[in-house]
């Protein structure tokens, strides 16, 4: 009998071929967290430029205080499902706060953002339904499709005409759920929300928008790209996560559908897992209040995003998209991407190394994400380090002006 793990041999070989010298992304250990934007890695003080900590709220004293109080009052965990003993006052308060933020009737909170997608997509669309997803969708959306009994169709990334074409081919018989993201996490490109909503409305489909990377980042009160585009009430479902702007872990889905609450009994990833611990719920609730009422964090985040984008662009780098809090540097050569990633880390800058098949178009990316907590000085250091290392490796050939 063969080894169960033989199927991983190609992956093992591919990983070995990447040629990391000192460290590889899965070996990075944050030995000490100094602040939302700094940690000690391999004994070295390092600027964190790849943590999706968009609003920098992980150390907000109000969130920490709320978490402490909940921990003391309600203990370390719920030890139960939301439908058994795992619904505390805090869970209901958090759901109410998110529903209020979106002006929506219903909100369900899940134990992770990944589960929010698996549970809502996989349950809402059933055997006779069709799910139409953007080609560049996150792994959790693809996996939700795999778990669903629905027919799965994929449309060209961010292309309303292609979506229109596919919906036309599908005809009018089936119920269709379209799933897109607000901001795509790898390249940092935004969905053409208005145009996609227009196509969706024309075909009478339902739309779910995953605002994982856009909650707290776009829109007047931080609801995401749907709010910025002014289509919040044209969108049937919004899902998101607490593990980025909210600074903790968990996920949610909001909707105005009159029968939405039945998902609490139908969605297995909601029922058959333990609910979020009270301290996580408490800090999430505080952070949701902050992101809705304090636009200054958002404004600071965007100043940082523009500074990094401008800095890297004028240094000569090829970037993934227009300015956003996700700034992806495209590196043509895979081995060079690996080497630069490692040298950035050795020089005190942590970014994300992203490669196919996790990236679209076969791209190798040094993906940065900004935080409102970054200082102007830190962003300058990120740009300077990128530029210096790229020049010494002849990735950028032009001498500095």
């Amino acid at each position: 009998m063969a080894d169960l793990f033989d199927k991983f041999d190609p992956m093992i070989r591919a990983r070995e071929a990447l040629g990391f010298v000192d460290s590889s992304p899965i070996d990075v250990v944050m030995e000490q967290i100094i602040s939302p934007t700094e940690a000690v890695i391999k004994g070295k003080r390092t600027i964190l430029a790849g943590t999706n900590n968009y609003l920098g709220l992980t150390f907000d004293p109000r969130c920490i205080k709320a978490a402490h109080e909940a921990l003391d009052a309600a203990g370390t965990g719920t030890t139960g499902s939301r439908v058994l003993n795992g619904t505390y006052t805090g869970h209901k308060a958090l759901e109410a706060a998110i529903a209020r933020l979106y002006g929506a009737e219903h909100c369900m909170v899940f134990s992770t953002g990944f589960l929010a997608n698996i549970a809502s997509i996989g349950t809402i669309a059933g055997k006779d339904d069709v799910i139409v997803i953007d080609a560049d969708s996150h792994a959790s959306i693809y996996d939700a499709c795999k778990m669903s009994d629905a027919t799965i169709v994929r449309f060209k990334h961010n292309d309303p005409d292609d979506l229109d074409k596919r919906l036309r081919r599908l005809g009018t018989d089936a119920n269709v759920l379209i799933v897109i993201e607000g901001l795509y996490s790898m390249l940092g490109d935004k969905a053409p929300m208005k145009e996609l909503v227009e196509v969706k409305n024309r075909h009478g489909a339902a739309l779910m928008v995953d605002e994982a990377h856009s909650l707290g980042v776009f829109g007047e009160t931080g609801c995401g790209v749907v709010q910025e585009a002014g289509v919040m009430h044209d969108v049937e479902f919004v899902v998101g996560t607490f593990s980025k702007s909210v600074g903790t872990i968990g996920g949610y889905c909001v909707s105005n559908h009159p029968k939405f609450e039945i998902l609490r009994l139908a969605a297995r990833p909601y029922m058959f897992t333990a609910s979020l611990p009270p301290s996580v719920v408490a800090s999430a609730l505080k952070a949701v209040e902050i992101l809705g009422s304090e636009p200054q964090h958002r404004e600071k985040l965007w100043r940082n995003a523009r500074q990094l984008h401008e800095g890297l662009t004028s240094a000569g780098f090829n970037l993934g998209a227009a300015p956003s809090p996700v700034v992806a540097v495209k590196i043509d050569d895979r081995d060079m991407a690996v080497r630069l990633w490692e040298q950035l880390l050795n020089n005190g800058v942590y970014v994300n190394l992203a490669m196919p098949p996790a990236t679209p178009q076969g791209l190798n990316l040094l993906r940065c994400s900004l935080s409102a907590a970054h200082t102007e000085e830190q962003v300058r250091t990120i740009v300077d380090t990128f530029e210096r290392l790229a020049r010494s490796n002849s990735v950028l050939s032009q001498p500095a002006a």
Binding site: A135, I152, V153, R154, K156, K165, R166, R169, P356, P357
Partner: protein, 81 residues
């Protein structure tokens, strides 16, 4: 009965980086060495070429070019009623 095989072989040609001889028994993963993204992009290309929908649910069962051609033939027939 339509026959999509020849057209699919033609559509594969520009993506046949290994330059392997493509027949009905060629496999996408092993012979053509396509990853899952390349396969899905090719599905989109076939959808547009034949004006059909090829659900991603079918992919796990489609390992060879011939199996894809059979599936496409069936989808074309279904479309034409």
């Amino acid at each position: 009965m339509s026959n999509a095989l020849d057209e699919i072989v033609t559509l594969i040609a520009p993506h046949n980086r290994k330059g392997v001889a493509v027949t009905a028994s060629s496999t996408f993963a092993t012979d053509l060495e396509w990853d899952s993204l390349t396969v899905m992009d090719f599905v989109a290309e076939m959808e547009d070429h034949f004006d059909i929908i090829i659900p991603l649910n079918l992919l796990p069962d489609l390992e060879t070019v011939g199996q894809v051609a059979d599936a496409v033939n069936q989808l074309i027939e279904k479309k034409n009623g």
